[in-house]
């Protein structure tokens, strides 16, 4: 492998044992993947601060105690605790302690304690073509797709190792030639009214993930999209597939037109999306029939300030009969507190979940029931991770259903 003098020195231990361990992980990974060099990165987003077991805690504490410190700005993804309300997670005292130790080890290593899966809402926005090493599937898909920065999907241990060394294996989506689309997803045949619905985007994302798997797709036919809509699309696609990059013609920075997105090579495959495919995908996100619900979960990825304000507007002051959990970053809580939106939502029955999220730690009602959501990602993970059966709906449907205690549909949306 072609390593620079500085990289060899770190590997030899010249910069301390912690940095040496991190460089060994990066170099070994590069070797295993067949990369022949490393690339300098400009930022990291660390998914490894979520507690999965004591072994990962012991490893991160060893890195920190051996002097490892991040060499580039590195934001943290969610942990298993809401640090503002640690009792919100029904973890055992021992698990809570270990989850806390893991989060603190990352702070000790110099990570920016953002504790959010939407760091791009909190100011972490790498420039176009920047090389970065990000973890968490939605954040990876967003930073590649919407911002045009370059990362592979970095997971536990490798994410922090890249941030400590400031290096990543040079392979995959770090290389421009691997970023071209091979699959065209044509949605020009869908009604224009559907394309304006927020809830269309997570459904299209889930469909895209299933169609593309690991292939880079280009979606054709979206006239306009907000950042929150793109966030939902990326998260849906990265849940149902191993997608890390989606081009959208005329919207995303590397897809000014179809030919550029494809690298001027004919696509391997074109799929024309029909309204029936959208309805089928929407239905697949619900595992319970329309009926009574026990909770509503919002904010996967973390809810934005705009989404919180829309929720407050839709509720029109009518309180919720079931708990409505909003998962969000502290950057959003601060914005909501500035004009009292936080208090207004709490008065309606909203429970704020900061620093973590309801599908990675036990916060939803202990008795498994039906959880309504407007997130394809929550819908995908709810059953396996929490035991709650998801029902997917629009934000408006989530609000009216939370106010009545059972699913209320808006027949106009999917017509």
């Amino acid at each position: 492998m072609n390593l620079t003098t500085a990289e060899r020195a770190t590997l030899a231990g010249d910069n301390g044992k912690g940095a040496q361990m991190a460089m060994e992980i990066v170099v070994e990974t590069a070797r295993m993947l067949g990369a022949d060099s490393l690339i300098e990165i400009h930022s990291g987003h660390i998914d490894g601060c979520l507690y999965h077991g004591d072994s990962g805690v012991l490893f991160c504490e060893k890195l920190a105690s051996e002097g490892a410190r991040v060499a580039v700005p590195a934001t943290t993804n969610v942990g298993a605790l809401n640090l503002l309300k640690p009792d919100q997670s029904r973890l055992s005292p021992d698990q809570r302690k270990m989850a806390y130790r893991l989060m603190m080890a990352h702070e000790k290593m110099g990570c920016t304690p953002s504790w959010t899966c939407a760091p791009y809402q909190a100011g972490a926005r790498p420039a176009l073509n920047r090389q970065v090493a990000w973890g968490e599937s939605n954040a990876v898909a967003f930073v590649n797709t919407v911002l045009g920065a370059r990362t592979n999907r970095y997971g536990d241990f490798l994410d922090i190792a890249c941030a400590i060394t400031g290096r990543a294996p040079y392979y995959g989506l770090h290389k421009p030639e691997n970023r071209h689309a091979q699959l065209v997803i044509d949605i020009n045949g869908l009604p224009a009214s559907l394309l304006r619905e927020d809830a269309f985007f997570p459904v299209l994302g889930a469909l895209t993930g299933r169609l593309a798997g690991e292939t880079v797709p280009v979606i054709e036919g979206i006239p306009t999209a907000t950042e929150d809509q793109l966030k939902a699309l990326c998260a849906g696609a990265a849940s149902t597939g191993a997608l890390a990059l989606i081009h959208i013609t005329g919207i995303t920075p590397e897809a000014p037109d179809r030919a550029t997105a494809l690298g001027h090579i004919p696509p391997a495959e074109t799929v024309t999306v029909t309204p029936a495919m959208i309805r089928q995908t929407r239905d697949s996100l619900s595992l319970a029939p329309d009926g009574p619900i026990d909770s509503v979960a919002l904010g996967s990825p973390h809810f934005s300030t705009a989404e919180c304000r829309t929720l407050l507007h839709l509720a029109s002051g009518k309180p919720f009969r079931v708990p409505v959990y909003i998962c969000l970053g502290r950057h959003t809580m601060t914005a909501l507190a500035a004009d009292g939106t936080d208090k207004a939502l709490a008065d309606l029955g909203v429970r704020f979940v900061t620093d973590t999220c309801v599908v990675v730690t036990p916060i939803l009602p202990a008795e498994p029931g039906v959880m309504m959501t407007n997130s394809a990602k929550f819908a995908h993970y709810a059953s396996g991770n929490t035991g709650h059966a998801p029902v997917f709906g629009t934000l408006k449907e989530c609000v009216s259903s939370a106010q009545s205690g059972h699913v209320i549909r808006d027949a106009q949306v999917w017509a």
Partner: protein, 140 residues
């Protein structure tokens, strides 16, 4: 009747081991699909749900799943519940990274090999060697 054949695989993490193959009949993400303390396959609907992977030479023809699977791999090594070796159908780093971290922590690490379209079936007895990466397959 017993006979022996051999094939060449690529060692990602070299090592020597003899054991019995367990071939995954359907893809699985270790995160959300394997219990990190008991090594039991827990994924709902998986044809081998309830099987434990500890001590087996685990054949993984197709890789899928969360990058948090590295953490599950490390946890299995730490708990002494890891497979005896992994044979992956394609190059990947997610599971091997967990093994490398285990090695750094001084916990038992396991060999990992890559072999496209691995022909082995559950119950085959395999020997993996450190150098040359030969896999001997005994049909019993």
């Amino acid at each position: 009747m017993m006979y022996k054949t051999s094939t060449r695989a690529t060692p990602l993490i070299p090592g020597t081991v003899t054991g019995t193959a367990l071939r995954l009949d359907a893809p699985i993400s270790f995160w959300g699909g394997v219990n990190p303390q008991t090594s039991e396959i827990t994924l709902a609907g998986h044809p081998q749900r309830g099987t434990t992977i500890a001590g087996t030479i685990l054949i993984i023809p197709q890789l899928i799943g969360s990058s948090s699977s590295s953490a599950v791999m490390l946890e299995l090594c730490h708990a002494g519940m890891a497979p005896a070796a992994l044979i992956l159908g394609s190059r990947d780093a997610i599971l091997p990274v967990g093994v490398i971290v285990a090695r750094q922590m001084g916990w038992p690490a396991i060999p990992v090999f890559v072999l496209p379209d691995p022909p082995f079936q559950t119950g085959d007895v395999l020997t993996l060697t450190a150098d040359g990466a030969l896999i001997y397959l005994y049909y019993l």
